[in-house]
Symmetry: none
Subunit: 229 residues, 4 copies
DNA sequence: CATGAATGAGACTTCATTCAT
DNA sequence: GATGAATGAAGTCTCATTCAT
């Protein structure tokens, strides 16, 4: 049932996705030598598959994308898919993980150190919108509700939750610096903000609204709801 | 190949769902009299199907529910399903419509006239949470993103959007009464609030949090973000 | 399984179709009186059904036409269909019978007494083509091969065979009058001619050929193959 | 949602049917070599499916044969069917193509070069009858009218038409050699002959007539209708 | 490790026929 | 006699996954 070396999804896969390293490539030290790491060939296949998966999950959604489609798009054999992912769901989760890491990385680069409340909020939102422009649809696809994918609990923290907790951490920091009202439940606020961003982003995209205006409007509402008065 | 008489989803179905009227039942004015409306028998079948659909869509989600399951749950033949709904998607949309109407009706009864900002927001949120308790899972299921259901645009206003616009109307009223800051984009704010509610509701349910606290927390954040300062 | 009074398909149905008599309509001689014949209402329903069946079988073919479609087209209830025809096949056979009778009647009126070989052949062919123009598609639909309709032998003489035998009779007469070579197997010749007509008619229709030329060409070939030399 | 690689019906399939070549089987030129053509395994599956399809279409007809039956008869999985044929109709057309090619090949081997009119006609008819004996029912099944299969025009030249055109070519040759009257429309004559053969063949089979007599009778009629007088 | 043909459970939907009204 | 809602067996086709090569 399992592929060899399932390579803990969260570690290898995503790291790779962002950094695209090719350093830890396998080397065989002569015939019968112990295998160390993963062969370059295998990594290459996985990279192609994940890129194809992202493209198709974004374009068509989870249920409209078949493993076969991903393999073909990746230019590898259909069977190869199952060499790299236990099943379709695992592939989708690898995609969302990749997207989450990528967005975090993107934000880390585009958003300066956590500064004053309003500036930070605006900068983060701008980062998210820029990422959305650079990678259209990825956020929306990656935020697909797990309940849609499978009845059984995945027992996996979905990106939405992860991001909500990221915001909670930020809010705690702002509380510490006295900018955010101490009576606020930062975890709840984190979830509300993430929910609002998702819905607001979809609304802006559907209605083709001016990005700057949306960022301003969202910033204003978030800041007012948080800041100490 | 269409089923006969797809019975416009928006008209009959939803109206019925809330009011459960039996007035427009067919009556024969003597032998050969003209038929008026739909026969009681047909209405009854549809009611059973819709109740079954709601139960299963809520329990299992869209993709895990087969038309056959709905028919069996409703206690009617497999084919009867297609007598009432053009296809599975149409049935799901009938369910979401019903839920939306039902919630609106519920709110209309449980929420007094639009009053002071904070009281109203709290009352509405309390209404939503009460509805959630009375009909567990229905809101979450009904808010299923359309993009998950079918690739092609449904061209149908989903409940999320409808509710967002309801909030926008409320906000406009509060603007008029001077309670809400005039510089707020009420449509954007409506969408953000709905997104926040969805995400927050899920969070509260998952973590089994105290409803009163969540309502208080959400009310506080929403009110602060909106009110004139 | 059976409808009341299946009314021998061949007798009533077709006769009616051509002559459209309304004479033998049922009359009830008081309460509990013996029913004589069939009620006018029933006849009327049957007439409408048969007209609808002809229209749809011609337009869509046997397998693409559902009893429901026929009923709706006829403007009667779906169940009424089974009051008049044991099943769908019986309805189709009633249609072919009707068409066969109708064509025979049409030919009898448009084709003079059997005269000289060539003139007769041409006249018959012209009659057939004229009928085709007046009732487009009917011949082709009515000639549908029985084997396509049902696996089990219908044990029913299909129109093709009936017409072939009609030609055989004609050929025998021409033999008697010395116009047709006595060494010809008239039954075989009858079948060949009918097959040729069917195929030739389809060819002419598909390619939109000039009717007169086709009639001339077919007449020439048939006459040459038959006539004493 | 298409099956992968529907493999152009006309090219591979039919060629294969007659010649049963195994030349263009995949070969690997060492590790990672380029694939050429289709794998032997796939070819083998297709061959089995086509043989099963022929058997069942002949025995039961188009509408009484399910893709599932064909797969089972072929000894392959249900899904394999759709790996080789886009749908049921495509499979049927592959069968008729195969039969047409096979008959042509059969005739080419059993019928000498085109010689004197009467001898040639008799030889061709004898070839057809012999083929019918060797492959009972195939001709009749393969000649199934396209209009019975699907309402929409297939835009595909059916065997009947192909054969009619084959006869037209022959007739043109006989015209050139002065054996056939120049005033004959060869294409019309081709269609008439094919129609006559189909109908006559069915008649002979149904009535269990002596093949030689039928061949003689048909030859006589065809020759008389064609030959210069 | 890679391939892609094969698999078969199961999805959605249709439609000839029955039957309560 | 007429109606049309109801029925459920059966049909076509899909797709996540396996496995021989």
């Amino acid at each position: 049932m399992m592929t060899e070396e399932p390579t803990s999804r969260t570690d290898k896969a995503t790291e790779m996705a962002v950094l695209d390293t090719e350093e830890d490539v396998a080397t065989r030290s002569g015939a019968g030598g112990a295998r160390v790491g993963v062969s370059r060939r295998k990594l290459e296949s996985r990279r192609k598959l994940l890129a194809a998966a992202r493209k198709l999950f974004v374009e068509r959604g989870y249920h409209e994308t078949r493993p076969q489609d991903i393999s073909r798009e990746a230019g590898v054999g259909h069977g190869t898919f199952y060499l790299h992912f236990e099943d379709k769901l695992a592939c989708f989760l690898a995609f969302t993980d990749e997207a989450a890491i990528e967005l975090e990385y993107f934000l880390a680069q585009h958003v300066g150190r956590v500064g004053r409340l309003e500036d930070s909020v605006r900068e983060i939102l701008r980062g998210i919108f820029e990422y959305s422009v650079a990678h259209p649809g990825v956020i929306s696809a990656a935020l697909t509700d797990a309940s849609v994918l499978s009845t059984s609990d995945i027992g996996k923290k979905m990106p939405m939750t992860r991001w909500a907790e990221g915001w909670a951490v930020l809010i705690e920091k702002w509380k510490a610096s006295g900018e955010v009202s101490p009576d606020i439940d930062s975890r709840l606020a984190g979830h509300l903000i993430v929910g609002a961003i998702k819905q607001g982003g979809g609304y802006a995209a559907r209605e083709n609204l001016d990005t700057e205006k949306i960022i301003d409007g969202m910033t204003m509402l978030f800041v007012r709801s948080l800041k100490k008065q």
